[in-house]
Symmetry: C2
Subunit: 328 residues, 2 copies
DNA sequence: TTGTATGCGTTATCAT
DNA sequence: ATGATAACGCATACAA
């Protein structure tokens, strides 16, 4: 079944009574004699010919793939990012080669080295481990992680974001703050959020704590931490800044279980600004990262040939958005 | 910059003092003389040679791409699906060619016809429009949509899901139910959820209503509908079944704005079972679709050569899970 | 302007 | 078992 072999330019050429080269010209929009044009087009239609991009890519040494490396697609920040990248790549007639690493260093390395075998126009990546071998001679942009010198990193101004969060909480009347984060101990963007937060608190003379937990066994450790700070139904903190929206959401659930109400007893700000369920509303008050603009910049950098801007890194501005877990 | 041209088998062959064919054999694990083996391996290492999959695919007429067509990646059901598909494809050494259609019929058609130009091993798709031209001679599986005769459709047992939802609400004490949905009026899986729901209600003699709204201007219409059914702070319904978890989430917010408490005043069950924020917990009580198993089945069907099962469609079982918006 | 012929990097079919 | 060579489908330099 399905034995019909692929129609090639040769077939079209034979059908139209012209040379293969002429067919190629027609397909590629290169001017050709009026009558040739028509007979070739007719033959293409009759045979239902379609060009073979595999062969085209090999011969012309040009392809239309861009590799996107992400840890996963269930984290809403990653999936939002992937969605925006997909839209942007489509706008540029590029196919998105999606590689998920699950945070596995070996898989990350394999994905990063894929272009050595599979020609692509560039790599857009967000990896967890930073000691990766990087392929040469191919445009790479990294999101949120400093991969190495000469590799542009697109991120948001997370220091200001942390500062903004602390400021907002304090303006909302909070007197005792805490910063909560989960994740790798490798230096990354989250540190800056903490830095900006800490600076704002210190500057204003407001007391604060921080709590970091390893990826796994997530919420239980946070619950222990919070319960340890609960005295007579009253929490030591009245303002929490969570390193991600995901975490903010979990913390909120923990607080509800502890019979604390949000935002009356405790105000929460999450970081990231992704909307759960693609809804119109944010599901917690949040510092919003400009995901769309970040994706756009990534694609522009990868596809532009001019290496001018390619050596810089970029910090895009963030802003605060109300989402129900703060007074305003 | 970057002028170093690609290392090919020829280069390796020259370096090792053997014929290109021998290099190919070594690369492909075909037995070769001991000494040849070693010299070729040494040359490969020295030159840092990597095979060109583009050429390999052209020549051998085999590639390792699978196209995945989805409307977007911000809807958590789609992104969860994409995540599972990605994991499964990696397990089978396949690359995921991700195409997002935004529900645009033209883009959907273009994506569907991509394999005519870009050779792939198969297509896994979830499209919104059903009158699409389908490419021949290539494995296709559809998720949730009946694309046409002979094209296998992977879905979950949504009729039972609807039945289950109604039953659960009634068991929890609800006396007056409503089914809420948004989306296209094209016949699809959502109809079955409604069908099963209706059957269960009728069977038990419990009154019910249904409300369908077009994709856009979402929540406002639902809010109008619910407010029209609000009398003296009391809603006509005490149990709501929402066609998606996304919708359930929005409805919950509307109810909260109306000063109704969930699940005390109104119980809600959403459909789909995706977890917002990849958390361990469901964010509403829900009928869970076996996304992981669906993805696994899709990939297995696409990659298996035996056409035995390929003509069937599959309905995977669903189950209920508590998520806080019902009594239990 | 159009046809001819070569090569992209690989695999497979031949002889050797 | 290995080397030479053709072919996959296309693009292009060159000749006509």
């Amino acid at each position: 079944m399905g034995g019909s072999k692929r129609i090639t330019m040769k077939d079209v050429a034979r059908e139209a009574g012209v040379a293969p080269g002429t067919v190629s010209r027609v397909v590629n929009g290169i001017p050709v004699g009026k009558s040739y044009q028509r007979s070739v087009e007719k033959a293409i239609e009759k045979l239902d010919y379609h060009i073979n991009r595999q062969a085209q890519a090999l011969r012309s040494n040009q392809n239309n793939f861009v590799e996107v490396i992400l840890p996963n697609l269930y984290n809403p920040f990653y999936s939002t990012l992937a969605d925006c990248l997909g839209r942007e790549l489509t706008r540029h007639s590029q196919q998105m080669l999606m590689c998920l690493t699950r945070g596995d260093p070996d898989l990350e390395q394999a994905c990063m080295l894929l272009p050595q075998q599979q020609p692509v126009n560039g790599v857009i990546c967000l990896t967890d481990h930073s000691d990766l071998r990087i392929p040469n001679d191919i445009p790479i942009v990294s999101i949120d992680r400093l991969l190495g010198p000469g590799i542009p990193c697109i991120t948001s101004d997370d220091y200001s974001g942390g500062y903004l969060a602390a400021q907002k909480l304090m303006n909302n009347g909070c007197k005792s703050l805490a910063f909560l984060r989960a994740g790798s101990s490798l230096p990354n963007e989250t540190d800056k959020r903490w830095g900006g937060f800490m600076y704002a608190c210190t500057d204003a003379g407001v007391s604060f704590e921080s709590m970091c937990v390893h990826e796994d066994a997530f919420s239980s450790e946070f619950e222990d931490f919070l319960r340890a700070h609960l005295h007579d139904g009253h929490l030591d903190f009245d303002g929490l800044f969570c390193a991600t929206v995901l975490l903010a959401h979990q913390i909120r659930n923990i607080l509800l279980r502890m019979k604390l109400s949000v935002p009356q007893d405790v105000q929460i700000i999450g970081y990231g600004g992704v909307k759960c369920f693609s809804g119109q509303e944010f599901c917690c008050s949040t510092i919003v990262r400009p995901v769309e603009e970040m994706a756009q910049l990534c694609v522009d950098l990868i596809l532009q040939t001019s290496p001018k801007l390619f050596s810089c890194s970029f910090q895009l501005p963030v802003y605060y958005a109300f989402g129900g877990t703060t007074n305003q």
